[in-house]
Amino acid sequence: MTPGSAIMPLCVAVPLGGAFLTALLGRQIPRLPDLLGALATLGALLLSVWSVHVVNVYGTVVYALGGWQPPIGIAMVLDGLTAFMLVTVNLIAFLVAVFSIDYMERFTDKWLFYTLFLLMVAGINGVVVTGDLFNLFVFLEVASVASYALVAFGTEKQELEAAFKYAVMGTVASLFVLLGIVLLYSHTSTLNMADMARELAHKGGGNVTLLVSVLFLMGFGLKAAVVPFHAWLPDAHPSAPAPISAMLSGVLIKALGVYALCRVFYNVIGITPEISSILMFLGVLSMIVGVFLAIGQWDLKRLLAYSSISQIGYVILGIGLGTPLGIAGGLFHLFNHSVFKSLLFLDSGAVEYSTGTRDLKKMGGLAKKMPVTGATTLVGAISIAGIPPFSGFWSKLIIIVAAVEAGRHWYAFWAVLASVVTLAYVMKVMRYAFMGTLNDTWRHVKEVPFFMKVSMVSLALLCVAGGLLLLPGLQETFLTLASGVLSEGTQYAAIVLSEVQ
């Protein structure tokens, strides 16, 4: 077994163990949930950074769960894309856990929050590392069920309503995914993704793959909140506590939706021009619909939620283009969006923490009283609007250039237009919340506590430094490896299976 392959089960086991210990001891020992939450996510973050090193040295690594050799046993696969997603997920999870130390003081039963939070992180990590399709479904459900409960965490009217809507739609989406997996199993008699890809290439997909593609598009598309399936997101994301909004918008929709979607379509079923066109169309549709719905919102978190839909559109457009440059741009935007959208949601949480409101009309001049929150929001806003040299600019630029290169000039045009409107709505946030004269109600507003500031400032620095990932040297070790996995398509089967022997 290759050294470093133990990273994969550990990435699931560490948060899961943290959740277990928190549930067991968290109520009795004060401060323990904070400590465990931060330590478990830090452990997962270190493991994922190490996994980038492992991928660079050994290439694709396969771990046979319980010693049962794939394709019979359950496999976990570590390749460039997995390492990329692990770093994204655990980086955000760690900073969110740090933020929660102070923020979650507003709620009772903090230990319950950390238990669910760590369960969700374990589920997301599991989705990312697994090489087995049914196992992917199980981890998807672990993460989803934890997120339904977290959306309802405030147990007020709105939270419960949003959670119910989210739970029903999410469960139906999962069932579509399960139905797709059943059909694929009946066609190929295997559940291992690499083996399945080989069987599909060997036997030919035919009508089964067509039906399965539609089911997966609906199922994973709903998890990713792509436009015709987005109705749950603008309710669920604002209703959750701010750290969870950051997790949901930052990583959950990407790991369960975008990652699973492109892993299955590129590496297992094999991308076809039709699927590619559908993905691009849905991407552009999300981009445009999300951006125009966002600009009319007066609830800060609801505005950010619609903005997530629009930004996911960019990611889907980039990945749907199918060219190496487009995929690299899409994945880069996925990483950047995780960082700046988490930052903006944490900032909205900071505002809510200090003032108790999310209504933009009631705010005003908060930058004077809350300089750190104001400054970090500005960084996040500039980043999401795509102003150079912040990270969002580079990834949007790559996607637009890739769209032009692929001959999709209209899609490139819509991407530029959406970017301009994005600038408009983030300026709206800055103008109404932070600039202008201080509303008299907020005369005694204080800046947020230490841990919240640490987390916000770290994310803001990452926004500034995000563009550095494109530097030669860094790019090859991280981003190119990830996009390479998708570019090589169904070669995935041969690469993974050769590792098994």
């Binding site: 459900e141 069920v145 119910f164 469960t171 139906v172 069932l175 399960l178 603008p234």
Partner: protein, 114 residues
């Protein structure tokens, strides 16, 4: 074939329940029906006419071809357990909503819009 069609009918009944009912409890029942339809379909995929249980024994020489595929049965067990968790959570949320709003009618539970 008829069995598969009945399974599809069950699936459609569940989807109809989710989409057309206004009572939250009925929506939850719709979700459960869809879930059972998918599980049933999974079992049907593995079914074999006159199939035997997949147990090897040294005494009897049973050919593998006559055995039912055991894997979907194990997977469906997992799917049922997951379904239990989601159902329990949805029912719990529905109960809390009833405490807050005093109704199960989703047309009257409309705080969120826009």
């Amino acid at each position: 074939m008829a069995l598969y069609l009945l399974c599809l009918v069950l699936f459609s009944v569940g989807v109809y329940g989710i989409l057309a009912r206004r009572n939250m409890i009925k929506i939850i029942i719709g979700v459960i029906v869809v879930e059972y339809a998918v599980n049933l379909f999974f079992i049907l995929v593995a079914y074999k006419k006159d199939g035997r249980s997949p147990i090897f024994s040294p005494d009897a020489d049973i050919p593998v071809q006559s055995m039912v595929d055991p894997l979907p049965q194990a997977l469906v067990l997992t799917a049922i357990v997951i379904g239990l968790a989601t159902t329990a959570l949805m029912v719990a949320i529905a109960m809390r909503i009833y405490e807050k709003y005093g109704t199960f009618d989703i047309a009257e539970i409309r705080e969120l819009r826009g």
